[in-house]
Symmetry: C2
Subunit: 226 residues, 2 copies
DNA sequence: TCCAAAGTGTGACCGTGGTAACATTTTATT
DNA sequence: AATAAAATGTTACCACGGTCACACTTTGGA
């Protein structure tokens, strides 16, 4: 992907809706950005690392994860093409990454230096409003995550997950979007604990499952046990 | 507190640093804001309530809390004079309060309608940048909270709390900033569980405590057990 | 000053879920 | 097709912390 290529991506991005291709080309000088490729599981930003850039995902999937003192993983959210990371850290009173950012697949990231972001904010109001929306939406993601993990039991996490996926996939047969290991990380629990609880729910007649799908059997019980 | 009074508060607020008193008076027309007083424990915004205003705390303390399905309380953060709430919801793609907002003491709130906020953003860049900082800082508060509650054990929560308070208060004798009941809510746990763990820590020689203070005895053990 | 209400200490009981260890299956690599 | 590596299933053990129940203390109003 050369200069022209990612320029095409940018010009179709909502943040840059107000910019003509010429204007974009004019603003984007080489010292203002870096395009980098990351392998799967490669760290993009360490926890407590200083933030100097806003990152735009050109391709691939990127996970933001919280690691506790014992190394347990809690996946906060997964971002993809067109999503933006680190915008909040450019404007906040503390500019260190509170969590680790790593590539979940081969990923190409456009690192936009903060000077560029500030300049773009100066130049264009639509960009700035768009950035406020991006940052504001991050607060909602984090709030939702707090909501999700402060539901105590694993069963409640699973039910919540199944409700959501069943609605998205419009089916009682939910195809798992990731491995069970990754699903456990999303809940911030042990893989074996997830496995155990799935078994219990099967015994209770709520679900059926195999390696790649979970079938919702008794949606009534599923609903009333929330 | 009449019009003049809160105008004085506004003009000394960093968000309005660029505004002359005249300019402020010009912008602030009655249909743009409401000043309201809330009693202790009175709800300011319910969860899932639609957000129409950005709220500026003129006096008192305001808690943002997450309630789970069984009514357990997790206090996310406590805000006070000069702090701003709801700014993120004005710019985000979803504008319902994800958590409950209530007065922790008698509180006076200035509700600024979103039209006014948008107008202020149009008028003044400093205001807009300031607002971005406010919203960005909210993401950090939420990230920190996720970090705090995903530390599994109650003992770790207590140690973390004591480290922080000991540093702030510059003393090994930590005066509790709130009741033990409220402290338990801050950790999102049962009050009796907090009480039990404090006892265990006293037995282990880590701390001493009474109703209003906790004395750090063995800071070494405190540090190594993190 | 009295009394109700709220906060606090304490204990018994037991379910949820972490830990560790191993077997089994699936996936990727040569 | 063969082998290593990763993911998954399964089990026994037990600690942490939720629940409930009650006594005690402090606080704030009447």
């Amino acid at each position: 992907m050369n200069h022209q290529d990612f320029m095409a991506v940018l010009s179709s991005h909502s943040l840059f809706a107000d910019f003509s291709n010429q204007a974009l080309n004019q603003v984007f000088r080489a010292h203002y950005y870096e395009k980098r490729e990351y392998q799967k599981d490669q760290v993009i930003h360490f926890q407590n690392e200083c933030c100097r850039t806003m990152d735009l995902i050109l391709s691939g999937r990127v996970a933001v994860q919280n690691l506790d003192s014992e190394g347990n993983v809690l996946t906060i959210s997964i971002f993809q093409d067109g999503d933006v990371l680190g915008a909040n850290l450019i404007f906040s009173s503390r500019n260190t990454y509170p969590m680790i950012v790593l590539a979940q697949s081969l990923a190409v990231i456009l690192h936009l230096h903060q000077e560029l972001i500030l300049e773009l904010c100066q130049m264009n109001r639509t960009f700035m409003i768009g950035l406020m929306k991006v940052i504001s939406d991050k607060t909602l993601i984090l709030s939702d995550k707090i909501n999700a993990i402060s539901m105590k039991t694993i069963r409640q996490c699973i039910i919540d997950f199944l409700r959501y996926e069943s609605r998205i996939q419009k089916s009682q047969i939910v195809r798992l979007p990731s491995s069970k290991k990754e699903l456990a990380q999303r809940f911030g629990i042990q893989r074996s604990s997830l496995s155990r609880e799935l078994n219990k729910m099967r015994q209770d007649g709520l679900i059926d499952f195999d390696a790649k799908t979970i079938t919702i059997r008794n949606i009534n019980n599923l609903n009333e046990s929330s």
